[in-house]
């Protein structure tokens, strides 16, 4: 197994971070989370009904799984909303961690990177440990680090799209530009091969949800992602060959019998 990595002082053996939404049942969520090997689960905050109190059962389930939680600010379109949501999450989940989402556009759920940098600064100054959901833009990445972020989470593709890595060039450039910053591909991953590809680029981890939750068998898919991420990491460490345009025989040419 590949070596552990550290983010905000937490040492993690698994490089998979898993969302907790959209599973067929709470039991399948719990089983998938365990099968994935993920040590970080993302969660959210939503209005609690006094009558149903759905959040209380969910919270019990998550605590039973025993992973660290990374609360998100999903659905926040303004800095103010995201900051207030993060403040509520810090108290509720008793963690300074926040997956910061400031959404700029409803169809693509793409980050409002201007609001993201502003919110990241406010929260970092207030003692939060911010995991920003961002694009692969290098300049935005630089600003987020200046704002206090110690990890970056560029999207692979729009949230829930399952498209994989839309801009491999951009992700590779980001990796090359920030060799020492933990980088996690967050969103858009649809297949274990997408996750493996991110790891082969040298990314430190992958965060995904829908690809597991909406699979025919979420538990089996969770396990497949765990394996793909380990394989991708091992491949990165092993040093992939350089691709070339034309064929190069793998079998020696010298010594071939002359049979014509």
């Amino acid at each position: 197994m590949a070596a552990a990595f550290t983010v905000y002082g937490a040492t993690l053996r698994s490089r998979l971070m898993l969302g907790t939404s959209q599973y067929p049942s709470p039991a399948i969520l719990a089983e998938a989370a365990r099968a994935s090997g993920a040590e970080i689960l993302t969660v959210s905050l939503r209005r609690e009904s006094a009558r149903l109190k759905e959040g209380q059962d969910f919270w019990r389930l998550i605590r039973d799984i025993g992973a660290r939680v990374l609360p998100n600010t999903a659905g926040c379109f303004s800095v103010k909303e995201a900051v207030t949501t993060a403040e509520m999450a810090r108290e509720l989940f008793n963690t300074p961690w926040v997956k910061l989402e400031v959404i700029g556009e409803a169809d693509t759920l793409q980050p409002d990177v201007f609001g993201l940098v502003e919110a990241a600064r406010i929260l970092s100054d207030d003692g939060f440990e911010v995991f920003p959901y961002t694009t692969e833009d290098l300049v935005v990445a630089e600003r987020l680090l200046e704002a206090g972020c110690k990890v970056l989470m560029p999207w692979g593709a729009p949230i829930g799209s399952g498209k994989g890595l839309n801009n491999v060039f951009g992700l590779r450039a980001l990796r090359a530009h920030f060799p020492d910053t933990p980088l996690i591909v967050d969103a858009g991953v649809g297949l274990p091969s997408h996750a493996a590809a991110a790891m082969e680029l040298g990314y430190d981890g992958v965060l995904l949800n829908t690809a597991v939750a909406k699979a025919g068998d979420p538990v089996a898919m969770a396990r497949a992602f765990g394996q793909a991420i380990e394989a991708g990491r091992a491949a990165y460490l092993a040093g992939p060959m350089a691709p070339r345009d034309m064929a190069a025989p793998s079998t020696p040419v010298v010594g071939k019998a002359m049979l014509t």
């Binding site: 969302g19 907790t20 939404s21 959209q22 599973y23 969520l29 993302t42 969660v43 959210s44 905050l45 939503r46 209005r47 609690e48 009904s49 006094a50 009558r51 109190k53 759905e54 959040g55 209380q56 969910f58 919270w59 998550i62 609360p71 998100n72 999903a74 103010k80 207030t84 403040e87 509520m88 999450a89 108290e91 509720l92 989940f93 949230i159 829930g160 969103a187 949800n209 829908t210």
Partner: protein, 65 residues
Amino acid sequence: MTLIVNGEPREVAASTLAEALKALDYETATVATALNGEFVPKRARGVTPLKDGDRIEIVAPRQGG
């Protein structure tokens, strides 16, 4: 007094946020609160006065990606 609780108007007899949570049956639940868009920490609920028309958000852990 009418409060807007999670987007719904509710008649609540309470002078502080802590009293409102009790009256609304959230006393034992793990929740976080905001008043008129501003976070109110748990420890401040007892000293946070309410007035007619205040908007209260009461949230709990939920599934997320």
